[in-house]
Structures are given as structure tokens and as C-alpha cells.
Symmetry: C2
Subunit: 497 residues, 2 copies
């Protein structure tokens, strides 16, 4: 007896249940769920007036802004699948995703006007709607709003940055988003006093999932256009923020800015994603009694799928934790289940996991087998079932026949008191095939000697893992989710010759 | 793209995530999720040793006890659909349900031995397993435990008491239970410090849903064999209980026993089900700052589907609130949507609502149309969308062509300072067809005059709603969920002649 589950339209339901609660705080202005619902409905009718209809796909190129939140809900209301575009891409890359996703429309804003001109030239058939113009569109008398969401319907498409090859559009259904929110609430708990700070991009799943949770849980989101550590700290200290999503680079800056102050007790979750965190960072958080939840997730899992509870933060340092309640995880080596402690490919399943890539039947079949997603990432489970993510498969360094995982070396380097952060790649080597090379950002006013850092590594790592070279730099290359881009490190290396 | 969602086995998953948290407290003994999981696994193997296999149906006749919790999880592990039997039924009624549900097995205990003898005589083909005997069964080497639960699989069958006609087996899938738990968590919030007191029968959905939530949320349940107001109050005052499920008769007794004491701040939810609550009770709760959540629900909705938040407890007095996040509600009159304020049939939908009655295609079709369950209950929505449940349709009294709802009269009577509770039925009348008759339980040491109560009603009710007769009694007839049995009032009346 399989039935297609349907839920009431989330924002409308939320506005019916708790109309007066604050939904979004943006630039010191508060929007209740009732207001957000009314604004979304108004915009859905404006979009209908220019011809958008249920079933269409529409690309969206917008910054973190209240208008973007309204537009996302307006599009959900209108039954339109949203293709979330990354504002850092070039016009050419954006045009490719618009074409690949067969989006007839692109909603954007003046801020991106030069990119929009490029897109208009490359793919003139795309109808570009600037938000500044949408404002003055007429409102249809009739509402096209969906009263219900089918859980199997595609809500959003996000292209994965992909460590190699062409980007693929990940289909995220309403069900995927819903289950992700459920996995999170069963892990973190929920209070109507909760308030989630969102300074990660809403075009990434890390940001969008916060907007989804706001509506499903009925909690306030403080939305920031971009991340600023002073603002983030102020929001926690004085403005009632209880949960924040960060990556380690953001957390690092917050801690530096925080100094010897402590966060208040109502602050209950520092949700840390975007790759393994350096140990010194976690130790510093423990010292300051900051409740860090390390997580592992990706676009395909509609945000985190594995999370480490704070009580294990130090005991299981470096672990991403255990799969959330609705999700499952296994480690595979050459098609067999890995032994405890044995590294292999991380394979996940659960109703939060995508059913596939848009118009990519072959790649979907390769990635998803019998409901299990093969992530391409490498990790192992310890004897108690805690996941340790070692690396993205494509970043694997093989040196003298031994596997070397950059994250492990980075983690060791970042334990050195003079090291702020480190990124590791490899260079080719006649003897060993490849040897690791470390890019190191020292703490301000620190000037560690290269030899000292090499010795520090030798103390803690097998000799084949010790970097063949140390290079100092001011910052590491990261994408807009603040994930370390090791490919770019490799390019830097090549440019140095 | 419809797929059959599957989740990891709930208890096993919970034991993996939070093995050391307390799952159940029973008679001062604590059982962690790890222990509960091990005991359930052991019992699943014992049941397998006598031949129970995935897909079988098994009836269960057990009291509230830790052994029963273990047995329920053992049966889920073993992939067996559980038919939950009501311990207050006669052997004949039990036998009927066992036969109707095609249960090959009956798991019970010595406590019910006389009923078991009756069943053995009536339906000798049923294999009866007493829990005292299961203890000594061998354990199979192989585990038959389900690693996953399909959300569309039937988890439990519960027969509805039914106000008339033969009982029907309501199919509750794992999905129904899951979504019910999700609707509740989005309404009540969740903290790992939560602790739910269960003194309602686990063979009813009110009790079973608490056991489900314990495992899904990872919270402690304090299980009591039967309700005792002193114990309930002690659990809240001194033993960390934060949530309790009650019906108004239980709440009444708790308040009397509580006297002028106040519940501690950590106590955050008095979940009040089983029909409309008298106003004096709600007013008393407000005075004592007790956070009462009035609810409306039934076996078919896998526990509450409509709930009133405490902030509306007095402003919307008498209302059951709004449908939980995943659920929807409408009021129908002769096939059309009722106007605001107009009473009609309460119709509900949502993934927590049953897909139908066991082997009752006709009755399922009559009750569920296009995914909407026609409850047979009467209610209306006010201008802000709050539900007021007026009555069970079958209890409707029609007097002089006017509709009279017993609950309305009961509610007025219970406002009288001398009235503890009241139950209303009707007797036939030559002039009006039917007239209401009220059974009244006075407060201890109160002796109101009948004329005084009649006058009190006249002040507040249209004349056709005023009881034609008042009858004093010591207590009202209730079923094991403490729901008022108006049919029995009618019988009392007939017996009086």
C-alpha cells in the first residue's frame, strides 16, 4: 500500500498555526509568518501574471536577502521547481546550468546586471526577471498557490560543485527537505524560542535548509547578506540566536573575535559543516564550553546526514558522528562491507537523500544503487560506529603505494600553536609518485620556521605522510560554502613551477 | 517518482544513537535503550523459535508493564503486525477480534488466565503464548530482526470501540505512527531532558503513541500499570516528568490531590485528550499555571490530530485548536464546506491518518474519500480557524427539530461550583421527540438542589437545551481511555424505567 504522501503548503500551514511568530529578521526588520505568507502569495500572483505556471522550472540568482526568501516561497506556492544558482559563478557557467536545467525563467536582481547581460547574450531565449521589475508587476486576481506539497515533487535543483567533470543538477524533493529537517530536529531538539543565524549562502543547501526549517519548525531566522564574525558573535551574545551554521573558517574567525568572552547559555548549537575541523579549533571550543556539532553532509543529502553530539566532541575528536535518525550509513571496499576501522567509500541512504541527478540517468545509476548513494568520499567507522571522514576520494594522494589523506596532515598541522589553518595537496615525485605539499596560514604575528613544522609533523605522522614542502600564504582558497578547494592549491603549485 | 520510504528499525537505531539514555522507567527500575534493544532482540528470537515469522499477525493482551514494551518491540523486530487487545473486553469480544484480524497467535499473561480459558474454548485454533512461558523458550541462533521498517507496512491494528455496530480494526502503519510523532514534536518541541508519564493503557493509541515517541525522540517514559493521581503528581513534582497524557477525569483527580501546590517549571505539557474538557477544569489549570494542551484525535489518526496551544487555553476555551503541521481539517455539511461557525462533520487528512479498516473495504470507502477521513464527529471552525468539537455524531440529540449536543450541556453544568462532572444523554419525549437528561456527580460534600442546576442551565442555554431531568450519581461510566460512555448513561436511564 504505497501512497504519495502530501502535506499542507508549509508556509501557509505555518502562518495558520503561528501567524504572529517572527519568521525572518533581516537588517533589523522583523517579518512574521503571516507577513511572509502574504508577501509570498502576492509575489506568486505577480509571477503568474507574466506566465509562470505549476510545473515550470525557474532559475534563481539572488543574494541572501528577505526578498529572496519571499521569492523562494512564492515559487513554491506557484508549484515551480527552483534552480538555485551560485552567485560566484561566471555568466558562462550560469548559462550552462540554466540551459541544462531547462529553466525558461531566471529571477535575479540588478546587483548581478553584468552577469545577466552575459547570460542574455549567450542564451537569449531565457526570460530574465529582475526583482526590481517584479515589484511593479500586476497581481492576478486568481491564486495559483498550491494548497499541498507532494513529497515526491522536485522542490529545488542545486548543481554540485563537483571535484571534477561537469556539474550535475541534484534534485531535492519536498520530501528530501522535510526528512532532513526531521533528522535534524530529532538530533538537536526544538524550542519555540529557537533562532537560527544564517550567514551561509541560501543558494547552497546549508543556507536553504535553514529557511526550510524556519517554516517547518516555526522558528526565527536571522538572515545576513554575508558572514561577519563580529555580527555573528553579537547575534549570539545579545540577539537571542540559539543555533548557527558555520564551517571551520567561520568558526575560527568567530573565536578570534570572541577573545575571552563566553557565549550565553541559551546558545545551544554551533553546527559545523564543510569538512573535517582542525583539532585545535575543537579543543578551543571545548575550553570555551561552546556546543559544537560536527557534521558531514552534501547537496545530495539535503544538508547534514551525520552529526556528532557535543558530549563526544573531544572523546571522538575528528569524527563526524553517527547518521541521523532517518538515515543509514555503511563503508564499502571493493563491493564488500569494510571492517571496523578500515577506510572505504562512504555509502548513505535515507529519505533525505536525493533520488538522482536531473537528466543524468547514467550518472544517477552509477551514484545510487538500490537506494544507497555512493558519495565518493573516504572514511571509516570506529568500533562504536562513529564515522571518520578521511577525504574526498578525488583528493586522495598516493605516495609510494601508501594512501595519504590530505585532511589528516592538515589536522596535524593545525594543532601547531603558530598555525591558523593548513591546506594540503600533492606534487608529482619521481621516487614516490606523489608527495604531499602543505600550504600554511600562520596566526597573525606568528612566524613559524618551516623546519619546525616539518619536525612537528614527523612526530605525529608516518614518514610518508610528512609534507615534502611547506608554503606559507595569507589565506586558503575556498568556495562560497567555505569548503577548501584543494584543486586550486594544486593550481597554485603548478603556477609556482 | 513515488518510492516506498524506509527507515532504520527504530529501536535499533535509537540504541545505536543514544544507547545510555533511559528508555523506560517501570516500578523504579530503569531500562536504557541499549538494554531495551537487547531484551527485544532476545524475545524476537524466542518468538521465532516457536514459529512466528515476518508477515504474521499476532494479538497481544497485556497490561502496562515493561514486559509488554519489550514484547511490542520484539514483535516489530520480527516483522509481525500487532493486534492490540483491550484488557477490559470479555473473552467473547476478544475472541471475535482475534478471529476478525486472522491472528494465528495470542501473546498474553497469567493475569488474564480466566479470559484466556474462555478464548481457548471459543477459538481453539489460536496459539496462546503466556509471557511467563515465553521466558523459558529457547533463543534462535539466527536473528530474524528487520533492519528497516517500511513506512507503508502495518505496525499495529486497534479495534475502535465504535459508538454503534461491530468494532473495526484500524490499520496503523509505521508511517502513521511516525508522522503522528512528527506532528507532535513540531507542536510541543523536544528536549533530551523530556520525560513522558504513561498511565493511559498502551493497548490504546494514547498509550502506544508514547512508547513510539520514546524510541523516535530518545526520551524516557515512566510507565505505570494504572493511573493514580498521587503517583502522577509525585512524578511531576519530584521525578522529572515533563509531559503527561491525561483525560479530563484524570486531570480532575490530579488537581484535587494537588491542592494548593504548584507544578515545577520543568513540567511543560499536560496533554489533554478524550473529549471536550469542562471549563472549570481549564480555568483551574490557568489559575495554577498548568500548561494544558487540549487535543482532539482518535484511533484512526494515530493519536491527536488537533491541538490547542496553552496560550489559547482560555481565549479559545472549549476549542481543540488547530490541526498539527502535517495534517489538515475541514468541516462538511451535506457535501459542501461549512461556513465559519457552522457545525458540520469533521473531516481530516494527513500522513498520520489510517489508510483503512482491516478487511472492511466497504466501510473504508465510506469513511475515507480521496484521502479524507470522515470522522462522524460534529464540530465547527471559528473565524480564526480553531476547531470546536461539539459531539460524536451518534450522540446527537434532536429535540423539537433542533440539534442538541450533549457536550455543550455538560460543559455548562460543570461550570457550576457544586458540580464535579456531568454526563448528558436523552430520553424520548412525546412532545419534542427527545429531551436531554443530565447525570451529575457533585463535588464531595456538595449537595446542589436539582432546581438550582436547572436554573443555572436556563441562564446559559436556549430552552430546548436545558435538561428535562437531573440525576445525581457517584461517578460516570467511562471506558479504559476514560472517555465518557453516553450509551451507558442511556442504559442507566432505561434501567430506571
Amino acid at each position: 500500500m504505497i501512497t504519495e504522501e502530501r502535506l499542507p503548503n508549509w508556509l501557509k500551514k505555518r502562518a495558520e498555526l503561528t501567524p504572529e511568530r517572527v519568521a525572518v529578521e533581516f537588517e533589523d526588520r522583523l517579518y512574521t509568518f503571516r507577513e511572509l505568507d502574504e508577501l509570498a502569495e502576492e509575489n506568486a500572483r505577480k509571477l503568474a501574471s507574466v506566465g509562470l505556471r505549476p510545473g515550470d522550472a525557474c532559475a534563481v540568482l539572488l543574494r541572501n536577502h528577505i526578498d529572496s526568501v519571499i521569492m523562494i516561497h512564492a515559487l513554491f506556492n506557484a508549484g515551480i521547481t527552483i534552480v538555485m544558482l551560485n552567485g560566484r559563478l561566471t555568466a558562462r557557467e550560469l548559462g550552462w546550468q540554466i540551459t541544462d536545467s531547462e529553466s525558461k525563467w531566471l529571477i535575479s536582481e540588478e546587483f548581478f546586471s553584468s552577469k545577466l547581460e552575459g547570460i542574455a547574450t549567450d542564451i537569449p531565449q531565457t526570460e530574465i526577471l529582475r526583482k526590481e521589475k517584479i515589484r511593479s508587476l500586476p497581481v492576478t486576481a486568481e491564486s495559483y498557490s498550491q494548497a499541498e506539497f507532494l513529497l515526491s515533487d522536485a522542490a529545488t535543483i542545486m548543481y554540485t560543485s563537483g571535484t571534477s567533470g561537469k556539474p550535475k543538477g541534484v534534485i531535492q524533493t519536498f520530501g528530501n527537505h522535510w526528512w532532513s529537517a526531521m533528522g535534524s530536529v530529532l538530533n538537536l531538539g526544538l524550542s519555540e524560542e529557537d533562532c537560527w543565524f544564517c550567514a551561509v549562502p541560501i543558494f547552497h543547501i546549508s543556507g536553504l535548509s535553514i529557511l526550510m526549517r524556519s517554516v517547518i519548525y516555526g522558528i526565527r531566522v536571522v538572515l545576513a547578506e554575508k558572514f561577519d564574525e563580529k555580527v555573528a558573535n553579537e547575534m549570539i551574545m545579545d540577539r537571542g540566536v540559539t543555533v548557527i551554521s558555520v564551517v571551520s573558517a567561520m568558526l575560527n574567525r568567530m573565536l578570534l573575535s570572541l577573545g575571552e568572552q563566553r557565549y550565553p547559555e541559551h546558545f545551544r548549537c554551533m553546527l559545523l559543516g564543510g569538512g573535517p575541523a582542525p583539532k585545535h579549533l575543537l579543543q578551543e571550543c571545548t575550553r570555551k564550553q561552546i556546543p559544537v556539532y560536527q557534521t558531514y553532509g552534501m547537496t545530495e543529502t539535503s544538508s547534514q546526514i551525520v552529526t556528532l553530539a557535543p558530549e563526544y566532541s573531544i572523546k571522538k575528536i575528528g569524527s563526524a558522528g553517527k547518521p541521523l535518525f532517518p538515515s543509514q550509513l555503511k563503508i564499502e571496499v571493493d563491493g564488500r562491507a569494510a571492517l571496523k576501522g578500515e577506510p572505504g567509500e562512504i555509502v548513505v541512504s535515507g529519505p533525505n537523500v536525493t533520488k538522482g541527478y536531473l537528466n543524468r540517468e547514467e550518472e544517477t545509476k552509477r551514484a545510487i544503487k538500490n537506494g544507497w548513494l555512493y558519495t565518493g568520499d573516504i572514511g571509516y567507522l570506529d568500533s562504536e560506529g562513529f564515522l571518520y571522514v578521511m577525504d574526498r576520494r578525488s583528493d586522495l594522494i598516493i605516495s609510494g603505494g601508501e594512501n595519504v589523506y590530505p585532511a589528516e596532515i592538515e589536522s596535524v598541522l593545525s594543532l601547531h600553536p603558530a598555525v591558523f589553518e593548513a591546506g594540503v595537496t600533492s606534487k608529482s615525485d619521481r621516487m614516490w609518485g606523489q608527495v604531499p605539499v602543505a600550504f600554511v596560514v600562520p596566526f597573525p604575528n606568528s612566524q613559524p620556521a618551516k623546519a619546525e613544522l616539518i619536525d612537528f609533523c614527523k612526530e605525529q605522522l608516518a614518514s610518508y605522510k610528512v609534507p615534502g614542502e611547506i608554503i606559507f600564504c595569507d589565506s586558503l582558497p575556498r568556495n562560497s560554502s567555505n569548503k577548501l578547494l584543494r584543486r586550486e592549491l594544486k593550481q597554485w603549485l603548478e603556477e609556482r613551477g
